[in-house]
């Protein structure tokens, strides 16, 4: 039997001498630990990335067979195909990422950890970003083969990186909002698509200008818009995640 009520014990590790400030895990270490856990779990299960890549390859095949385009038309549409596919494949992964944590209860385990909630947000966001970038890499290779256009260029890669950061940032925030809802798979695209529109438009326009070898005046403003959108979305995720995940 344990001690009677009110009997305070005294060991150095207990708060019997008043408020004990137990260590709160360092911010960026917590971010890294969460992102690494997601990557490790995905490497083990291959659930998310496999389904995203399969969806991506199917979509590319459908587009390449359905749109019989000449060289010029391909040049002007391939960026659109790239980004629409990235967004829809990304939504597949985003909707499962936090939903899986919620369903098996591990989201509570993360929320119980002595870390800033925004560190949890950035950890999940980085994990999602890696998945989206892997899918985007496969997609660029597939489009290069199927559309016979070289997409793997440094500036296109930069657009993909910046666009993916903005998309996964707002996607992670919205998937954590919709994770408590019953119709979360439907709710996520409805919430997400209007908000990612500036990213989608900037990325498509900028990428198309680069593929058509246009001068920097034609793609630089879109790149700048992407950077601004990324900064705004990252700030919003940092500020809002705590309110979004709490009951």
């Amino acid at each position: 039997m344990s001690a009677p009520p009110g009997n305070a014990h005294s060991t150095p590790n207990k708060p019997s001498a008043g408020r004990v400030r137990r260590p709160v895990t360092a911010y960026w270490r917590a971010v890294g630990v969460i992102a690494w856990k997601d990557l490790r779990a995905e490497i083990r299960s291959r659930e998310l990335v496999t389904s995203m890549i399969l969806f991506t390859l199917m979509t590319v095949m459908v587009f390449s067979l359905a749109l019989e385009l000449d060289a010029d038309a391909r040049q002007n549409t391939v960026a659109g195909v790239l980004w629409v596919t990235v967004v829809f494949a990304g939504m597949l992964g985003l909707s499962r990422s936090l939903a899986a944590e919620k369903d098996r209860g591990s989201l509570d385990a993360l929320l119980l950890a002595p870390i800033d909630r925004s560190a949890l947000f950035f950890g999940k966001m980085i994990g999602n970003l890696v998945f989206v970038l892997v899918v985007a890499g496969v997609l660029m290779f597939a489009l290069t083969v199927m559309f016979n256009i070289t997409l793997i260029r440094p500036l296109i890669v930069l657009f993909v990186l910046l666009g993916s950061i903005g998309f996964t940032t707002v996607g992670t925030l919205f998937s954590s909002m919709s994770v408590h809802a019953r119709a979360r798979e439907t709710l996520l695209p409805i919430l997400l698509l209007p908000v990612v529109l500036p990213i989608l438009i900037s990325a498509v326009r900028g990428s198309t200008a680069i593929l058509n070898d246009l001068p920097s005046d034609d793609w630089l403003p879109w790149l700048q818009l992407l950077v601004v959108a990324d900064v705004i979305f990252l700030a919003a995720g940092y500020a809002l995640f705590d309110f979004v995940v709490e009951e």
Binding site: P5, A17, R40, G105
Partner: protein, 247 residues
């Protein structure tokens, strides 16, 4: 200031109200738990036990009322509160695609256990809950009882000052239940503060220092275990909750 804080209860909840939609779950609940005290929280389904534990664990915000744990106030100082808490809930709060060892190492990192001590602590806990031979097996291959034992190891891994246990015996076989009895006895003897919700009146009486009965969102009965015989508890429980019980 320190003496003043040390003299206060470890857990203080005052006038807690929680309303989901139009349904009040907690109705002005007051609860103090002293340092080193083991409180068994009894009550019928839907009486608000889990909601109360979720508020104390900083997983949910009360609609109104105040909560202080170890002198830290929720929600403003939630990071410091969470660092002191170990929680076992209905859900295992584990990752089924990771091994038992990987799960505990992940939480050891998240709770910022010293790098040099992590592996030793993880293996000590795995041995303590009888899972050291399954350390390298993924959790999805475990039985319900083994998962629950691992969940208990996760909850006490960082040696928390306060343990919140929501029906921890659910799904445990005889051996695992006996193991949990021993573990909780050790935790209580080490002076940790424990709140455990349970429907098992005899076990609650045997383990705890004090029993509180929750009904319709308020504490309707609160008594030291020394002041009530285990045999009288079922009748007393039925009287105050209106429930029919044979335990």
């Amino acid at each position: 200031m320190i003496d003043e804080v040390a003299a206060r209860p470890m857990i203080e909840a005052q006038k807690l109200v929680k309303i989901f939609g139009v349904n009040p779950v907690l109705r002005g609940l007051d609860l103090d738990v002293q340092r080193g005290e083991f409180l068994a929280l009894l009550g019928p389904n839907g009486s608000g036990k889990t909601t109360l534990l979720r508020i104390l664990a900083a997983l949910a915000r009360p609609t109104s009322g105040t909560v202080r744990i170890g002198g830290w106030e929720l929600p403003g100082e939630a990071d410091y509160v969470r660092a002191q808490l170990g929680v076992v809930s209905h859900m295992p709060l584990l990752y089924d695609t990771l091994t038992a060892e990987e799960n505990l190492l992940f939480f050891a990192r998240l709770y910022d256990l010293p790098r040099g001590e992590r592996r030793d602590r993880v293996h000590t806990m795995l041995r303590r809950v009888g899972l050291h031979r399954r350390a390298r097996d993924v959790v999805r291959t475990f039985s319900r009882g083994m998962v629950q034992r691992l969940a208990i190891a996760r909850a006490v891994l960082h040696d928390p000052a306060v343990l919140l246990l929501d029906e921890p015996y659910t799904g445990l076989d005889q051996d695992a239940a006996a193991l949990l009895d021993d573990l909780l006895g050790e935790v209580a003897a080490a002076g940790r503060t424990v709140i455990m919700t349970t429907h098992d009146l005899r076990r609650g009486h045997a383990l705890a220092d004090r029993i509180a009965i929750l009904s319709r969102g308020t504490i309707v009965y609160d008594v030291s275990c020394h002041a009530v015989a285990a045999a009288d508890l079922p009748g007393l429980y039925a009287d105050v909750t209106g429930a029919v019980t044979t335990r």
